[in-house]
């Protein structure tokens, strides 16, 4: 039996969630644009310090390996941002790498980096982050009440699949960026797509809470197969966000490096460039993207295998090239190609990221077009 009150509560929660995400998005956006100003200030200061330093001494470092130098920068950046209230100081973090060697072991840079945020009260980013967290909690409540209202898993049609997988995207994003505060700058690019999917779900895919069709009943594979698919989809979304940031960042870094030869304060892509300046380097984004995609790939593999087992129980064959099966196969093969590309000379880096994005396009196609336009056995979208 469907509990209509709970179902309405769930709908309401999702609508309010959407509103909160809009606000969070505005917050993240405001943070991005305000970062422009701070960034130029910080850059200027860092530049001056650096010049002073170069006059004084040549850089000394403990380890000679390039890896170490890079590691030190990354660690430094995290340390700066991890201080409470210092989230907005991320921009100073990139400058801090230079000044660290100036005054090794002192906290001087850190305090300096913190100052603007502390004086400005709650920063836009922190505000947006808290809003996004609150929205995510409400989002989860919406998903859970839907499950309670229908007394089953909340992923039996497109609407439910969309609300649940976006909730997981948000939870994963929050989990990633609770510690690594520099990732919070990605907020716009995560909340944006999540909001888009939720709006689509709310306008085009929404169906009333209802019981299951026979093909989804009596099977524990609905928990396993679709559950894993929800996670796989969520990871693909996150992975695509990181991979596209990696691509932009790589391009940005290249241009900046070229211009650095001739200009003192190289600029590229204006405001967006300033956002990129605050994000981790393209190589650490690439590492993050790889980690997300490798988990995603394992999840897709399980989705495929569990789907096949279920297909055998439900339809009497484990594989029949139904459109949904074809596209899951395509997704799997593209992501496999991505993993191979990373290990292949000449394809590493940006080209591999391109493959990851191609995989994501396949994920989107599989979810939208295959569910609604192409007819197959998997027509459980719940849309007429």
């Amino acid at each position: 039996m469907i509990n209509q009150q709970l179902a309405e509560l769930s709908n309401l929660a999702i609508v309010v969630t959407i509103v909160l995400y809009v606000l969070a998005l505005i917050g993240f956006g405001a943070d991005l644009s305000s970062s422009s100003q701070r960034r130029s200030d910080a850059r200027l200061a860092a530049q001056e310090r650096k010049e002073a330093q170069e006059r004084e001494m040549s850089p000394a470092s403990v380890g000679a390996s390039g890896a170490e130098a890079e590691g030190a920068t990354a660690v430094g950046g995290t340390a700066v941002a991890a201080r409470p209230g210092a989230a907005s100081a991320g921009s100073a973090g990139s400058g801090a790498g230079g000044s660290d060697s100036l005054a090794p072991g002192t906290a001087g840079t850190r305090t300096a980096g913190e100052a603007p945020a502390a004086s400005g009260g709650m920063s836009a980013q922190r505000f947006a982050f808290l809003l996004a967290s609150a929205a995510t909690v409400l989002h989860l409540i919406g998903v859970i009440t839907r499950a309670l209202a229908t007394q089953r898993v909340p992923w039996a049609n497109m609407y439910e699949f969309a609300t649940t997988s976006t909730a997981i995207v948000m939870v994963a994003f929050l989990a990633f960026s609770v510690r690594r505060t520099e990732l919070r700058a990605l907020g716009t690019f995560v909340v944006g797509p999540v909001l888009l999917v939720l709006l689509l779900a709310q306008t085009f895919w929404i169906v009333p809470a209802a019981e299951l069709t026979p093909s989804l009943q009596n099977s524990h594979w609905i928990y396993i197969h679709i559950g894993v698919a929800v996670v796989a989809t969520a990871l693909s979304i996150l992975g695509a966000v990181v991979a596209s940031m990696q691509l932009f960042q790589a391009k940005h870094e290249r241009v900046l490096a070229e211009r650095a030869a001739t200009e003192d304060f190289p600029e590229h892509w204006g405001r967006f460039g300033h956002v990129l300046d605050r994000l981790p380097s393209s190589s650490s984004l690439e590492a993050l993207s790889f980690r997300i995609h490798s988990v995603a790939f394992v999840c897709w593999t399980f989705t495929l295998i569990f789907g096949a087992i279920w297909a055998r129980e439900a339809w009497g064959r484990f594989w029949g090239w139904d459109p949904k099966e074809v596209w899951t196969f395509i997704i799997w093969v593209i992501y496999a190609a991505y993993l191979h590309a990373r290990a292949t000379g000449g394809f590493r880096g940006s080209r591999a990221a391109g493959l990851a994005l191609a995989g994501f396009v396949a994920v989107v196609f599989n979810y939208t077009i295959v569910n609604t336009v192409i007819n197959g056995l998997h027509s459980y979208s719940g849309l007429g």
């Binding site: 380890g63 000679a64 390996s65 890896a67 170490e68 590691g71 009333p208 809470a209 209802a210 019981e211 069709t213 026979p214 093909s215 009943q217 009596n218 594979w221 190589s283 650490s284 690439e286 590492a287 790889f290 980690r291 490798s294 790939f297 394992v298 593999t301 399980f302 295998i305 096949a308 087992i309 439900a314 339809w315 009497g316 064959r317 484990f318 029949g320 090239w321 139904d322 459109p323 074809v326 196969f329 395509i330 093969v333 593209i334 496999a336 190609a337 993993l339 191979h340 590309a341 990373r342 290990a343 292949t344 000379g345 000449g346 394809f347 590493r348 880096g349 493959l355 295959v370 192409i374």
Partner: protein, 589 residues
């Protein structure tokens, strides 16, 4: 990360720190250099020399082609091709999935459809081009893993490679001067601590001191090889399944039965190696079929199905008769076959008598649902024995019927107001022409419609229990209603092996993605009156924790062996040094 450890494509995969002379650092000239390099023995090098001969010749050309095929770039291109080639398989109706849709497409698209058909776009997954891609891919895969298996087996037995002579350029390089430390005990502790962290560690004597060379994560490559081999397993078992499996469809009306033999199937397909004698001897009767649908006022779309249940009495040899209920996700498994409930419909009981008064058709007639949610079903009844002319009755069965401007149609899937809307034809049914006929189709063009008693063309509308007489004396009656269920009976002896291969593949995949593979070196030298400790590592995979682990090891070792405090404490062992001092397991977080 990968920039720091560029891994060459595996066609020419080199093992930098392992093979003297190719590492990032020239290893000291002594030791097992040549033999190790020989033991690597991989075909890339051997082939490389041959292929380098200016004129390749046939053999050279073949080797060259083989090397191209088994290179990573080729695998990459083939993978992408495979993905692209699969796309039309989802856009065009596939014969193997839904032949009726394919025919419809062909009719609607004329010449264009024929071209696509000739190119195999309606059988993408068995088309020559699709098969070529995946066969090449798998040949490439095999060509790639066979040599890697050999190398890996040797590596598993080999000792960790020698410590490079200069460690400075490796990850996390740390150099500490420990004036009071004892070189030997330092090495001992390092060795023990690394072993305890599950490194394969080896103490090496060197000219100016000693070093520990350690390695872990060979499981990564093991997993990777397992993964690829298991993929071949999936393909091979799949082929085996195609050759030996069978699948048949049966339609059974309530009260009717089925015994598993070829003649009883409506349709049947099997692989080339299928042996009819392997079909298990089982039989069943369909006792009852029930369906429920969303009723007006309930949540969901009215008429959408909510449950299908088929009660069957099954008899298998050597077992008692058994009552079972099949549902959509609850198939019946008997040894050697599985039976799935995949379809259902209505079977109205219709009696037809010809003008001479002979009963020419009687009993439940399977009708074909036309695909709408409300089970508007097609009726085709052929009475070839009717006199003076053969007779066909065609029309519709409507579980909850209406006839309006749109024609006869059903408003709800359940049999709330069952009725038949029929027309009777007479003429030559063409059954003797020798051309096989579909029982559910009849060609009306050669037949003439039988008028009603008033001489006008008539659409007979019948409710259960009613009878209708036509002008010539033919009568049609609707005596009752039953339901039928459609079952697929299938068996694929390789299914289990495909599943096992697939699970082994994921297992290998997980190992190959998440086990970090790395080397660690600790070197201790007496230099200018003090003891110098050097520690460094080399990541052979994404391994963000390596630098930290190297440093942690170095600082642990220096703490334990700080000459000032504990000149000779090492041999007795320091548990805390191992507990926290060994490099962490460094999983890629």
């Amino acid at each position: 990360m990968s920039e720091k450890n560029p891994r060459p494509d595996h066609g020419v995969r080199t093992d930098d720190a392992e093979r003297p002379g190719t590492g990032p650092d020239e290893a000291s000239g002594s030791g097992t250099g040549p033999s190790e390099s020989g033991s690597w023995s991989s075909k890339p090098e051997v082939d490389g020399k041959r292929a380098a001969v200016p004129s390749l010749g046939l053999r050279g050309t073949l080797l060259f082609l083989w090397r191209q095929l088994t290179s990573m770039q080729t695998a990459l291109v083939l993978l992408m091709l495979l993905a692209v080639a699969a796309i039309p398989g989802s856009l065009y109706p596939q014969r193997s999935v839904n032949p009726a849709l394919t025919e419809q497409f062909l009719e609607e698209n004329g010449r264009w459809g024929e071209v696509l058909d000739a190119l195999g776009f309606f059988e993408v997954f068995s088309s020559p081009w699709f098969s070529a891609i995946y066969l090449l891919l798998f040949i490439s895969l095999i060509g790639c893993i066979v040599p890697r298996v050999g190398v890996h087996l040797r590596q598993l037995r080999a000792k960790p490679p020698r410590t490079p002579s200069r460690l400075t350029r490796f990850t996390g390089y740390t150099r500490l001067e420990l004036p009071g430390a004892q070189a030997d005990s330092l090495i001992e502790t390092a060795h023990r601590s690394l072993r305890r962290s599950r490194y394969r560690a080896e103490v090496r004597e060197e000219k100016a001191g000693r070093s520990v060379s350690a390695e872990r994560g060979l499981l990564r490559e093991t997993g990777n090889l397992l993964f690829h081999i298991a993929l071949v397993g999936v393909l091979v078992c799949n082929a085996g399944g195609t050759l030996t499996s069978y699948r048949g469809q049966v339609t059974v009306v309530e009260g009717g039965g089925f015994a598993n033999s070829l003649t009883q199937y409506d349709s049947f397909e099997s692989g080339a190696w299928f042996d009819e004698n392997d079909m298990p001897d089982f039989r069943f009767t369909l006792e009852d079929f029930r369906a429920t649908y969303v009723q007006p006022g309930e949540a969901g779309r009215v008429g959408e199905p909510r449950s299908f249940e088929a009660d069957v009495q099954v008899t298998t040899p050597g077992q008692e008769q058994e009552s079972r209920t099949l549902q959509v996700n609850k198939p019946l498994h008997v040894p050697g076959a599985s039976m799935y409930l995949l379809g259902n419909g209505y079977a109205p009981e219709i009696t037809v008598t010809d003008p001479e008064g002979t009963v020419v058709a009687e009993g439940p007639l399977i009708t074909v649902p036309m695909g709408d949610i409300n089970y508007t079903s097609q009726v085709v009844l052929k009475a070839p024995d009717a006199q003076p002319e053969q007779t066909a009755v065609v029309g519709f069965f409507l579980p909850t019927g209406t006839i309006d401007e749109q024609g006869p149609r059903s408003l709800y899937p359940d049999a709330l107001d069952p009725q038949l809307a029929l027309t009777v034809y007479q003429g030559d049914l063409g059954l003797d022409s020798g051309v096989p006929q579909n029982a559910y189709e009849v060609d009306l063009t050669t037949l003439t419609q039988v008028p009603g008693e008033d001489g006008d063309p008539v659409l007979i509308r019948l409710y259960p229990g009613q009878e209708y007489s036509l002008a010539d004396g033919t009568t049609v009656s609707f005596d009752g209603l039953k339901r039928f269920a459609a079952f697929d009976i299938v068996h694929n002896p390789f299914e289990r092996w495909i599943l096992i291969s697939a699970l082994v593949a994921v297992g290998g995949l997980i190992l190959s993605l998440f086990v970090p593979r790395r080397r660690l070196w600790v070197r201790v030298r007496e230099q200018g009156g003090t003891t110098v400790l050097e520690v460094a590592g080399l990541a052979r995979s994404d391994d963000p924790a390596l630098a930290d682990d190297v440093k942690a090891l170095a600082s642990r070792l220096s703490e334990v062996h700080d000459g000032q405090r504990l000149p000779d404490a090492a041999p007795s062992g320091h548990p805390e040094a191992d507990a926290s001092g060994g490099p962490r397991e460094g999983s890629a977080q």
